[in-house]
Amino acid sequence: MHQIPCPWCGVRDETEFQYQGDATVRRPAAEASEEAYANYVYFRENPKGVHIEYWRHTGGCRRLLVVERDTVSHDIKAVRFAHIPGGGEDA
């Protein structure tokens, strides 16, 4: 069972979080092509190894976290807030 260190709530069970997938994709500009949006919505790197992904702490602070996690060992390398560039705490 994943133990995810939430920057706000501390280490919590994976069951408190809602997985939100690949955090490396970026929504294209409004005027971008269907192709660009399709790549954003559907196509994934899906690495075997370190994956940068979103987990929302719905059972705790509800914030969206960016988690760097190894998809083989499941070790978590880093966690930060998604809503703050740099991921520090709010100010």
Binding site: D13, T15, E16, G60, C61, R63
Partner: protein, 202 residues
């Protein structure tokens, strides 16, 4: 307010405000009835301003006690403020005033159930459903956490080292959460048959 027409989330159990059940070793579980419960939301970049205006602590995981009551920093830029029912409307008025320009308050006083669990066995009851470590070396009086138990979102606040815990959950879940607490306490002598009721589908 204090209108007799108001119900609490456990009214249907015939539970009077403050009534509860006891087990062995001083284990005690009761329904606190209604409390003032407010969600405070700071505007973007105004967290500090809100904290100053209301005298809140910005640090997570520890309750801060101010003039308006007890506050839990539930997430960056947000707090839950809890006060006694009889102070609720006054608190809402003053807090709303203090927040103008820097944040907002959402009154949730009716949207939550407030239970209190106390006694040396309270930790064991919690441990049956709460994945957090409440042993004294890790969390003591003043510790608070938002987590989930038995599939129900709860806010837990340890108010003393008895230990005594305040538990808050959504009103609609109150019946199920209460049932779970009674069941978890039965091993320690709690007998809640009179105070649980099979929910009805028809």
């Amino acid at each position: 307010m204090g209108n007799n027409d108001f119900i609490t989330p456990l009214s249907h159990l015939g539970l009077r405000e403050g009534e509860g059940v006891a087990g062995g070793d001083g284990l005690h579980l009761w329904d606190r009835g209604r409390v003032g419960f407010f969600q405070i939301l700071a505007r973007k970049g105004r967290t500090g301003a809100v904290a100053t205006a209301l005298g809140f602590d910005e640090a997570p995981r520890l309750a801060s006690h101010g003039v308006y009551g007890t506050a839990f920093a539930t997430t960056p830029g947000e707090w839950v403020l809890v006060c006694n029912d009889d102070e609720a409307s006054e608190t809402l008025r003053t807090v709303s005033g203090a927040l103008v320009g820097s944040g907002y308050v959402s009154d949730q006083s009716f949207g939550r159930a407030a239970f209190r669990l106390s006694g040396v066995k309270a930790r064991l009851v919690l441990a049956k459903g709460c994945a957090l470590d409440w042993s004294p070396s890790v969390r003591g009086a003043g510790a608070c956490a938002q987590t989930s138990m038995a599939g129900i979102g709860v806010i837990i606040h340890q108010i003393d080292d008895a230990p005594t815990y305040d538990l808050y959950c959504y009103a609609g879940f109150a019946d199920s959460f209460w049932r779970w607490l009674i069941c978890a306490g039965e091993e320690f002598g709690v007998d809640g048959r009179r105070l649980t009721k099979e929910w009805k589908r028809d």
